[in-house]
């Protein structure tokens, strides 16, 4: 029972959170207060919402991440057969890592790895 349990754990999560939230909605007391429904800003009156233009500081990181994460997906199958294939697999991974390393070095030199 492997693929069924995949669904089981999904349902378990739903039941755990859903059950507790539903229980809490009915069991917990309710009160209304104007300040309570404001976003928390250390007691100062709230100015504007948070959905504004925002400098995502890691925009470049996420692009490099995408490259490397896809590479890892490729390397995993290589890892399982490395033992059996031996020499040729080893040479191939060195070539692969040289290309990957050059990419990282380029990003490094272009200051993409610097938090702005």
């Amino acid at each position: 029972m492997s693929s069924e349990s995949l669904l089981l754990f999904f349902v378990l999560g739903l039941v755990l959170v859903g059950g507790a939230v539903v229980f809490s909605t009915f069991a917990a007391p309710k009160s209304w207060n104007k300040a309570k429904f404001e976003p928390y800003e250390c007691g100062i009156p709230v100015k504007d919402g948070a959905w504004t233009q925002f400098n995502v500081g890691y925009y470049l990181f996420s692009i490099i991440y995408l490259v490397f994460d896809v590479e890892i997906v490729f390397i995993y199958p290589w890892g399982t057969v490395m033992k059996d294939i031996g020499m040729s697999a080893f040479i191939e991974i060195i070539i692969f890592f040289i290309i990957l390393g050059l990419g990282l070095a380029y990003a490094w030199k272009k200051k993409a790895l610097k938090w702005v």
Partner: protein
Amino acid sequence: MAFSIYDFSSFTQSIHQLLSGVMSPAWVLVSELVLVGLVFLMFYALLGLALVYLERRVCAFIQNRLGPNRVGPQGIFQTIADLIKLLFKEIFIIKNADKFLFNLAPFIVIIASMMAIGALPFAKGLHAMDFNIGVFYILAVTSLGVVGILLAGWSSNSKYSLLGAMRSGAQIISYELSVGLSMLAIIIFSGSMQLSVIVESQANGWWIFKGHIPAFISFVIFLIAATAETNRGPFDLAEAESELTAGFHTEYSGIRFAFFFLAEYMNMFLAAALATTLFLGGWMPLHFGVDTQFNHIMDFVPPVVWFFGKTFFVIYIIMLFKWTFPRLRIDQLLTLEWKYLLPINLFNIVLIAFLVMMGWHF
């Protein structure tokens, strides 16, 4: 009913046969799923409570104070009391929040950790799912958790939440690379992604010993990266109390907040259990040499005890990280990952591939 604490496969087999005797195959499957579900729900809740209690005691121990010690013997019922309190707290949504996404976020976080924990092998024959791509599966599922965190931060429509979520996103995706690459080390050694096969391959010695220094480097990188991946320890920028009040879950109250808290602890357990399974031999006992008196004594200790003993040891180390190191800055955090851990890791993988090719590991 055959029951052995050293091999659970006969136990599960006998339950299967018992059920097959009284009902049709479809109903057997359903009742087995319900059984496993109930067991895991209990396990999940109890483990969460135990970990929160443990964290508070370890924190108190390091800060030289008492910690919870009033409710029950040594305060062990404190977290249960806290849970009951949180269940009866009002859960409200602030005025301008995106209500649907706000509600959805805790579900995603909990489901991601739940699905990953289901794939762990706890002892011989004691696992709910045993995929042939086990490691890959866990890596895939755990990275879903960040979606929940980003949703929570964005949908709150609060500045602290947004900042916390954005930091958390940068951190989690960066450190996922190191987690993936350090787990790859063990896949090269054992030649399999199936967690039970990886554990079996450590019957004559744990990979951290068998793999010489490269395996140890991988283990250290895995510990650091997994700590960062779970938003813990010196890497808890996402919920830095002194800067962002509570980070991405600032606007969550009552039981919804508890679920974010729970998910963090369960992810920590998952990280420790993975470190145990991959590097420290899973449920395999500690052995020195071949067929010595020491080995026989170690074999006497049940595998479940070994698994949880090692896991809690790793959890203790991760907790020590949190309470002994000062918090990093976000640029230091990303420098550590991209300029140190990643190049070291790539080099380490080549070293391990060389070791395996020459057959120098045991």
